[in-house]
Symmetry: C2
Subunit: 360 residues, 2 copies
């Protein structure tokens, strides 16, 4: 800022007004980045957030900071977008940290864990509860600077060919579910299956699998699973509010002028709130269409949720005993979650419950 100070000092002799452009402009560099999304363009809510983000950065810089977005597979496959950032192949990526669960379960604390925080609580933890600092520290080893950049909200538990009436019905159930949810499902007798979205329909149709989870009404509708597995279960307790992240390569981040860093950060926050708003605005009509198309809504029986809750906490205790990185982030995460739940029971919870009861 020395140069600006000099300019100010030099200007004191003249008649400077606060509205006038300075005589010598501080020019900002033209920068072109590539963003690789872990999602296909068909998921317009999630992929759309990376587009909105890039568009805003461009508009805020008069096109000087240009970020081109690429869907999963265009440059790198979905599961490798974080690697591409780490290796410097691209400057940034947009992905759910759940994709990195296989590398280290700690990543899931940046997205969702079974019976974790809901969307609003997760945002509170990231922005104001210390979550961002803890995760930034964790990501540092991967050469990544992370930013919250979207949330799906609480997900549905997915599409089942048969009803789930007790925990016994989970036993042997071949369920398309990944990462953490799959690990918990296995503990209660289920058989998790890792199947890419495009292959779910035929697998469920042929009976290779008994059930499949995806996201929620708006995204699920695109897969058409209600035509072959009519029971639509809730809640997707493994993703009570699944956060999506923007990953920026540490070197790319440091190379940015401070103004561009500020713009990028604000644009990520805007895309964060916008994605949740899109899901919230679009899910109700999609749910109605699905029900009109034959979907039958079913809540998991309480004993199923209780068994999964118990299994989840067992998994967390085991992870905490053997993975110090996990423990370091998980403990404050759970403390924050528990305090949020305590508070949400009163004003938020009682308000929402009353509204649900009068509009039933």
């Amino acid at each position: 800022m020395k140069r600006r100070g000099f300019l100010k000092a030099a200007a004191t002799g003249g008649a400077a007004t606060t509205l006038a452009a300075p005589a010598i402009a501080q020019t900002q560099p033209s920068i072109r980045w590539r963003l690789v999304s872990a999602y296909p363009k068909s998921l317009d809510t999630i992929y759309g957030a990376s587009e909105s983000f890039a568009k805003r950065v461009g508009a805020a810089t008069g096109g000087k900071f240009e970020i081109r977005t690429f869907a999963a597979g265009e440059i790198v496959p979905a599961f490798q977008v974080a690697d591409a950032v780490q290796q410097g192949t691209v400057e940034c990526a947009h992905a759910g940290a759940l994709l990195l669960f296989g590398k280290d379960p700690t990543f899931a604390l940046d997205a969702a864990i079974p019976f974790g925080m809901n969307s609003r609580q997760m945002t509170a933890w990231m922005y104001e509860g210390g979550g961002m600092q803890l995760l930034r520290e964790f990501y540092r080893d991967f050469g990544i600077v992370n930013f919250p950049c979207g949330n799906t909200g609480a997900q549905m538990a997915g599409w089942f060919r048969k009803e789930i009436k007790s925990p016994d019905d989970i036993k042997g159930l071949k369920f398309r579910i990944g990462g953490f949810g799959g690990m918990v499902l296995e503990r209660i007798g289920g058989v998790p299956q890792n199947i890419p979205p495009g292959d779910i329909y035929p697998a469920l149709e042929k009976g290779t699998i008994d059930a499949a989870e995806f996201v929620g009404p708006y995204d699920d509708e695109k897969l058409g699973l209600h035509k072959i597995a009519k029971y639509y279960y809730y809640p997707g307790f493994w993703e009570g509010g699944s956060q999506i992240s923007l990953y920026v390569g540490a070197k790319a981040w440091e190379s940015l002028p401070k103004e561009y860093q500020a713009i990028l950060e604000a644009a990520a926050a805007e895309a964060h709130v916008e994605m949740q708003a899109k899901y919230d605005a679009r899910n109700p009509a999609a749910l109605k269409r699905l029900v009109a198309g034959g979907a039958q809504l079913r809540a998991f029986p309480r004993p199923v949720l209780d068994a999964a809750w118990k299994a989840s906490n067992e998994v967390y205790a085991e992870l905490s005993a053997k993975n110090p990185k996990w423990k370091k982030v998980y403990e404050p995460y759970v403390k924050f979650r528990d305090e949020q739940i305590l508070w949400f029971r009163f004003a938020e919870g009682s308000f929402d419950s009353f509204m649900a009861s009068v509009k039933r």
Copy 2:
């Protein structure tokens, strides 16, 4: 963009790289704005949002677009901040539209109405449900361009000297509550009182009033009302998610370069998500301190909520019959609310209910 096109054409002869700064910089003007907040600095969550917003705009422009923030009363009193924007005394303001309820109840649809949307639903309506367009049109007559810029979340119903056991206990109750909430309270026999925050404590202590609502634990704690009225009721059904707005004068907005407009819009969205996160992160500990200090939590009895719900809908029907501006915004608002409630009952509601039950 013609000038840029010319520069590009002129540059084709040379060895241009995408990372090089252009030879002639597009300079951005230095602009200084004043923002008047309707809140005192002591409300650091709300007032803090205007500071965060201004800071981000400054950082994103290298200090060229400077917005100085002023607390209520520093330049104009709280209730006149919108007038100050309309008249061009200042370029922008940060206020809850409930303050303008007296001018036209339609303003409340930009903040909160009794039994309206919760925070997340309101954000979905504004960003993706058509709410922004409807309200922008309404505000046009006042020379204001509005942006969502914070939400308090569901508020508490406030501090009562005596318990409310039935709707009869509302009859004759002198309750410090403003605007729409007061109008509904009156319908069910209460006596609304308009008292500035600083005067609530002595009025409640002397018994001039029987009860007072403010915001929620974090803000309420500062007033110390738990020392003189120990029953802390919920939910504050008149503000299930009270949105705060950034008001920009239409002429000031139009005078901005497109880049500054983009920066302002992103910074407002960031402040919007940040304020809710601050309330969520800080309310739990404040609630615990209040309870440790003697506050006794009480839920409104169902018949009280039912009576208020009925009264609210009567008020809405009357307003719709006589105020076309209200009707134009209220009808889509309520349609959106009802669809949100339908959807929130499933994944979100069942997830939150389960979590509340296991952490009780």
